[in-house]
Symmetry: C2
Subunit: 297 residues, 2 copies
């Protein structure tokens, strides 16, 4: 009996149950309901300097982002809150943050559980609905590859937390789940997901699920301004923007006929889908393989 890493454990689980996409789709009464759950905890997910408000926001946003990645609309969120002690002021700030992100993109905190736990541990579960749920398996050669927003916010925030610039760090940590963009992309996309482990890992995940490859152009990848500002070399910029992840932007593949619709949505096209199962990035004059690695807790 030997221990395996999270990725190996997930691969093994995928052989036993319908895991592998952002959400499970439960068809109930003719409607497609989306279900997703995420566990976060102090030592891995909440750096020193984070506020209770940001913890509440981010914990909920992570699950709402899974709904966005499936093209869904939020209905309700449950929160299991484990903490060494219950302080009403902390709980209030936490809930304010949790409710604020719902008021921005939809959904409602409807209940949960309290648990006295040695380490602050939050499990959020989101329930949504989708007209046309999109998973990772439908990408076709020739499709355009698109991402919302810009990449590397979380990596930049982590650097700022370390430097003690906590106000900016908290702000960057409170990302807005791409619900609207997911609904719009969902009408066109052949595959979609939220970028939780970094763009590189996400491209590989769609590559495997759809049995296709990617060719992306580094110059077209939208790095966050804070990444441009905080990275000290092109290598670090790439590390922060492509491999750190937890930015929760959306990655989608869209048939080329929708090129102009994508421009209207304000999302960037960074490359295209290819037939070979490989992920290549054009950087200046070179074309190199983009490694399959990403954020590790």
């Amino acid at each position: 009996m030997s221990a395996v890493d999270e990725k190996e454990a997930l691969d093994w689980l995928a052989g036993r149950m319908p895991v592998g996409d952002d959400c499970y789709v439960l068809t109930q009464g003719g409607e497609d309901l989306l279900l997703t759950t995420d566990m976060l905890h102090r030592s891995a997910d909440f750096p020193a300097g984070i506020t209770d408000f940001t913890i509440g926001w981010r914990s909920v946003a992570v699950s709402l982002s899974d709904l966005a990645g499936t093209g869904g609309r939020p209905l309700a969120v449950l929160i299991a809150y484990g903490a060494p002690q219950f302080e009403l002021d902390s709980l209030e700030e936490f809930l304010d943050g949790a409710e604020e992100v719902c008021s921005l993109v939809g959904g409602r905190i409807v209940g949960g559980d309290l648990d006295r736990h040695q380490e602050l541990t939050i499990t959020t579960t989101a329930i949504g609905e989708a007209e046309r749920p999109v998973d990772r398996s439908g990408a076709e050669p020739g499709d355009l590859v698109t991402v919302t927003g810009d990449l590397g916010r979380t990596a930049a925030a982590l650097k700022l937390f370390e430097k003690g610039e906590v106000d900016r760090a908290n702000e960057l940590f409170r990302f807005e789940p791409r619900i609207q963009e997911g609904l719009q992309l969902g009408e066109m996309a052949t595959s979609m997901m939220d970028i939780s482990d970094g763009l590189a890992r996400s491209l590989h995940q769609i590559s495997r699920a759809s049995d296709v490859g990617f060719r992306v152009t580094e110059g077209k990848i939208p790095f966050a301004p804070s990444v441009e500002e905080l990275s000290e070399s092109p290598e670090e910029r790439r590390e922060l923007g492509l491999f750190t992840g937890e930015d929760f932007e959306l990655l989608a593949t869209v048939p080329a006929q929708y090129k102009f619709d994508l421009a209207t949505l304000g999302v960037r096209v960074i490359g295209e889908v290819t037939a070979e199962e490989e992920v290549r990035v054009a950087s200046g004059m070179e074309v190199i393989d983009l490694e399959d690695r990403g954020y590790v807790h």
Copy 2:
């Protein structure tokens, strides 16, 4: 800013969001969906000697029991699994237990999350449906008070774990959620819940939510055979059977006209609902107040 206990925190939360019943009822497309989440963890919920199979079973059963307490039928279960390391053998046993309880009473494990966490921590979320969801607020004076099964199994199991009699302890720990009974009682009940913190606390919870009282007869309360066997005094028997809880039997109030239907279901009538908001128990020649205390993690 001062820390409060779980009960005070829950009371405070109830002022802010719809907590206070076993499940949240989400009305969607004309149907009533039930949502519930629970966090369990090693130091509070999984005694030394518990098997991975029992951990999986019990983690899922706890959430299914909330569906039962609302008169619901299980549809799907999500599991967030946090552990210091991922062992495929342990995960397999855990999932076997989780799936076994679903195969007994309904539902299906459809996905979840893996999280590397210092302490084994499991959050289960169950989604169900109900024709007629029952909460805690509708009890009326004159209703009969009924419980399913027998009480004190978990208390007895904890004693057996301590004594090292782990086979019997594991077996007692793997309770069967009362889904069938909940569906049947749900057609008649004015209030219902699962007994998670012990019968005494549960009676007080319905008393407050329905603004009624209870008069129960101690001699009619069904104590588990293992409680009769393991308790060394009448006081200990009462402690194990009424105040320890985590037995996940159902407590319901049912109009007296259904007296004969209850007999057919094989559930026990232990007393009746009264108008005064107080919980009294008749024990021999005495009638005493039943304290509002229960299982504390």
